[in-house]
Amino acid sequence: MLPLRLWLRRCSAAYASPVMVLICVWVIHARSGWQYEWDWALSNASTPSLLLAPLLTGLVAHDRARRVGPTVAPLSAAAPRGEAGLLSLAAASWLWTAAAWAVGLAYAAARVLPNGPEGWPNPWVLVEVPVLLALAAVAGLLVGTVLPNRAAGPVAALGLFALTLLARATPANGLFMAGGSTGTLAGLERTPAVAVAVVVAHLTLAAAALLATRAHTRPLGRRPWVRSVAAAGFAVVAITGVFAVNRSHEPYRPVTTAQKCVNGPVTVCGPSNTRPLLARAARDLGTAVTTLEGAELPWQRQYVLARGEKVREIPPDQSVLGLSPEEFTNGRLSTHQVASTLSRPRMCDAYFGGPNLDAAMENQGRVYDWITAQLRSSTPAGAAPQDVQDAFRWVATCEPARKVQ
């Protein structure tokens, strides 16, 4: 424990942690709309890991390269428990970074709680971020060991950042990152297979980095190269695993939990843990329908919050709720969201392509424009013009979407 306590006081991450806290809170605060649901809040709270992970890697590499002297390093490697000292550097830096992230997480939770969220968040992010940070810390140890000079820090940090961007452009998308959703996750959940594959891959890569570090610091035994080969093998297996899972699974899938409905002039149903969003949608759609009563249009009164392929399974007498909490203004749906939802009284098959796509978009657009103008007008809405009524009839009686077999 002594090496850990020493490194907790001396590692560069200790000095950087106040900055890390500021980064976390600022990046989380910069986005909006996430404060109405647990899952997006946690995913958004993980966005700073895009910066925390490279920074942690660089700091550990710097400390390993510059602050573990050329005399101490071989002595540590030779002593029975000496290697624990080097690992303590990674562990202490990880603790400081994870603590900074936890503060960001607490800030996100404090913003979500007043909105009365229901249920529990999908916990994968709480595993994925600490594991990613552990990989970053060990990778820093490796770079600092093989590159014992001033370049270690920037090389490690820029290298991990570049790897994150590269992985995103390949079938290994998901590696070296965690969370970071830019839109609502209402109606979606993390696909467990993908989450497990990414976590296992990060742990395997961390083990590979540790093996490679050990191969470099203790080139002992009859076959010192075995550890390097094993490390490379681990890395290949980890990346191949993510490749394979990504081919057969999406990172997120529609939820299968129970539905909950919020009633009013308009009834809105959706997954039970999205009740704060459903309540806002029911309130604002209800107000809009009441405002537009004079239009004499048969407004849809039942909406369902559905994502992905579930959208095609909505019965013809209901429609899909288009929800973008990032566009909320003072907790209210934007005029655009209300108009686009009301102008789509049925999920037409034409919206998914085919010969009627243009007609569907044109008719929906005509209704959307009229609703938008009425909602922005200060005078009460009168009867809709004939062309709007015809357009509304088209989108309300179109061929409903069919489930893809």
Partner: protein, 187 residues
Amino acid sequence: MRARLLAHRWHVSVAITVVLGALSWLLRTMAVSVPGLTHTVPAPVLVAFAVVVVTLTPLYASFPELQRTLPGEQRRRTVRAATSVALGLAAALPAWLSAPADPSGPVPPAAPLALVLVAAGLVALVVIGDLAWAVVLVLAVGALIGDGGVNRPVTRALEVVPLPLLSVALLASLLVYATWGPRGSTG
């Protein structure tokens, strides 16, 4: 002369900067998808972050405690800093001049951001020394992902401050570096 160039790692810095400059020019029309952002980012902007980090490398203290006692050090320090900034500009300019006007989504304006990064890097060299690269990294990536929100705070802040003022800030940071020099090794 050769010894001085090697001691301040100019050979490595110049070589990597030339490679990064070429990479930036080759990728001038490419936009990169960044996790946590809804829009893509021009590749030259990302390469520019690395250019700033690399071109600051010759400015770290090479002889921590001895550095200040070397004859003519302040004059050489000024030349080193100016050369480093010029090297970064030379690497980034071809891509920036030949890149399409807006190949991707909104990102903080590249030129003002680069000036801020270089200025912050120079001051960080004086104040914290060896970890100056971390300040550049935090500001660069932080600006990128912090600007992903609806209000785009970084872009708005950079648009408020006129470019000449940022140039003056860069000159001031050069002066700070030339006057006090880099902080010694933290090792």
